[in-house]
Amino acid sequence: MTELARTASVVFLQPTTLCNLDCSYCYLPDRAAHRRMSVAVADAVARGVAAWSLLHPVRVVWHGGEPLALGTPGFTELIGRFGSAGGRVTHAVQTNATLIDDAWCEVFNRHRISVNVSLDGPRRANGARTTRAGRESFELALRGIAALRGHGIPFGAIAVVEDPDPAVAAELYDWFVALGCHSLGVNIVERKGVHAGSQVDGEGVTAFWAALATHWRSDQRLRVREFDHALRHVSATLAGTADRRALAPHDPMPMIGWDGEVTVLGPDLAGFSSRRHGPFTVGNVKDAELVDLVRRAPQASWVAEIVRGFAACRATCGHFSYCLGGRPANKYFETGRFDATETAYCRNSKKRLMEGLLRSVGHT
């Protein structure tokens, strides 16, 4: 069975390692350094994206560091290297919103960039999101979001929840409704990358998801990414197609770092290495074509170990057709191996999420 698809429908880019914030839970290494992607690297990625776009639409996600730290001239120079392929290549940006101003809004509009902001809810929930000088970033983010709203630019939001208290679930949801976003992603804080801090892991997380689900069911003004995903599995299960869907290959989701190094299966391994495998890369776009690097990715020892991890999950876990083998980065940073199975991430963000949703529906 093929475990990795040969083409990618989602491509992550790291136009710069720099982030102007210093969030305490961030997993990214080197985010104080301003290493910028070159035009040559962007050209190489654009060639790969153009090739895949002949087969299916491709979403390019400008990730971080903080992609807006590049400044509008640098960013537009890089994004300008990508063709639209008649609308089959689209762009999205994941940003902390603090640098958004009128000039950025014009860039978003000109290049039809989908905007997703990272913000954790009301002011008191944003204590981890500080500037490099240690000051809170909350007002800066709200100012950027006001600019988006002023320009009529729709946006989604992702919140990291450090304390999944059921008592604050409804308030969190209502706050994002009032913010004006169209969708919300909820990430329970994870221990991975350079973030070695505390990690919640217990029944309280289920209660949080149940409370959030109950509130969302009564007021569905926002799409909640996690509930959408859980309900897609529910829909497939009720239709009898869930097991068949789970046989499909993983999208390789390449992440191209600022220097052209290519990581697959998520952006959160970029820049890391291990003693056993060396750097978590499948090659560099300056040395080989992106399409070839992705096609050959399963030959890398660390990718092969990831694939073994997917197989282990498939063989041992009753939630496999829902979670599809877990997140490689969480497996590695929690256990030291990619062929591990269950992680705290699995429990908090998959199993307890589904359990909370089912409990909420069961109590109707």
Partner: protein, 77 residues
Amino acid sequence: MSDTPEISENLSQRIEAQRAALASLLAQSGVTASPAAAEGMPPRADVLLSGDANPWHDGRREEREEKKEEEKKDGTD
């Protein structure tokens, strides 16, 4: 494999047991198993369609055969 007893292991049975209520919620929410295919995008783009620019928690495509079947139904194949 889980040693956390508050998580039930047989997920599909749990879902089947709540079929009526879950079907109602699905209808209310408008969520379907494969909205991306309906828009001519790869199924993997499902997560993006929910407004998420950071979908890497969920890295898998549905079967291409499933998409082809839907395209045939639409007469676009």
